[in-house]
Amino acid sequence: MTEAGLDRIQVSSSDREPVPDEALLLAWRAGDEAAFRVLFDRYRTRVTGYAWQLVRRQEVAEEICLEAFCRVLEGAWRPGGSFRSFLYTVVHRLCLDALRRRGRRDRALLKLRAGPREGAGPEHLTQLSQDQARLQAALARLPAPHRAVLSLYYSQELSSQEVAQVLGLQDHQVRSRLSYARKLLRQHLSEPQEIP
């Protein structure tokens, strides 16, 4: 390979590979606001989406995203650990906090009501295909721990090891929980559902 060819590969490679999250966080802590913006843009939609899958309320999900980033930016993460795992761990804990704060009465209502009615109105559902609406409704009926594992793995595309870190589980427990959650989801999908 010629030297010119090598140069092109290096340029192309560096163009393709995003700056690691951890490097962006360190840059932010060193005073680089632009680094924060890149990092925040990378995760803000995904993190808010994950929070919504758990708490099913838009305003709460948005607040969780905001609070999680404040905690992570100023928080305890140190080089050596995965930023992504740490971020989702913080988000997950805030979601559990939010679910608990609603109190028993609200949780009972949450269990009794089909999820998409809470937080996601009919406007949202009309934007989904019928299959997606059924899937969303079935997902909303799962207990939060099962929604969490499915969302982290399939929607947020964390590795099974990262999911294990976020949820405080062993890798084999994540696999087992994923398997059970999918089974439960299929059960709900096979039952008649009322979709607004």
């Binding site: 608990r100 399939y154 929607s155």
Partner: protein, 232 residues
């Protein structure tokens, strides 16, 4: 277990597991079906509008701004770390004077310890009857000397803190935190009164679980009350 490898992405499978899926057509088809369900989940949109970077920066600036309560922040932070360490590692003192224990003398004991977390994440220990600011959150730890069934509630707010769902938590002797390995902090939803609001947090331990969450506890049960004084 073969079922547990279905629907996983290739990078999360070992070479042996990938080979197994390739060699067994039935298993391969089942895997593809589960992976398709996972893909469908991954494509589900969430109806959210995430906050902006400006909102995060504004909140961070507000948190960094000095406040009348902030003068001992460094000291409180240090104390908080020490408190967190103590709370996490030290065994419960046998004669903690800050709670009332009710039960048979010499019988199993039950006690609550608490730490307040300020908005900056600094921790400090709180005794029963101690003050907690409205913007603080409280972490609880409940110690039981015997195995049994435990519940932690804030009766005035109608909230159950542990277990998170209704019912009782089967516990071994030892220390138990709401949220388990991922400890959860708590504060009432309602703002405290101008003069402060007393909020009791009650732990109940029973050797056998009562019939229901609101069923009367038997004489063999223990109840401990931890009073928090929320101040505006």
């Amino acid at each position: 277990m073969n079922q547990d490898l279905l629907g996983l992405r290739p990078e999360d499978l070992s070479p042996d597991e990938r080979a197994l899926l390739a060699e067994d057509p039935d298993l391969g088809r089942a895997h593809a079906r589960e992976a398709a369900l996972g893909d469908a989940l991954g494509r589900l949109p969430a109806p959210v509008s995430p906050p902006s970077a400006e909102q995060v920066l504004a909140r961070l600036a507000a948190q960094r701004a000095p406040s009348p309560r902030a003068w001992p922040a460094a000291a409180a932070g240090g104390l908080g770390l020490a408190a967190a360490f103590l709370l996490a590692w030290l065994p419960l003192a046998p004669d903690e004077p800050t709670q009332r224990d009710r039960g048979v003398a010499g019988a199993p004991t039950l006690r609550i310890q608490a730490a307040a977390e300020d908005p900056r994440g600094a921790l400090r220990t709180v005794e029963s009857g101690g003050s907690v600011a409205a913007d603080e959150r409280v972490l609880f730890r409940v110690g039981t000397s015997h195995a049994g069934h435990l519940v932690l509630r804030a009766p005035d707010t109608g909230e159950q803190l542990m277990p998170l769902e209704s019912g009782w938590l089967a516990v071994e002797a030892g220390e138990h935190r709401p949220g388990g390995d991922q400890p959860l902090s708590w504060r009432p939803d309602a703002r405290p009164d101008p003069g402060g609001s007393e909020t009791p947090v009650v732990a109940t331990w029973c050797p056998e679980p009562p019939a229901g969450p609101d069923a009367p506890v038997s004489p063999g049960c223990l109840t401990t009350v931890f009073q928090l004084w929320w101040t505006p």
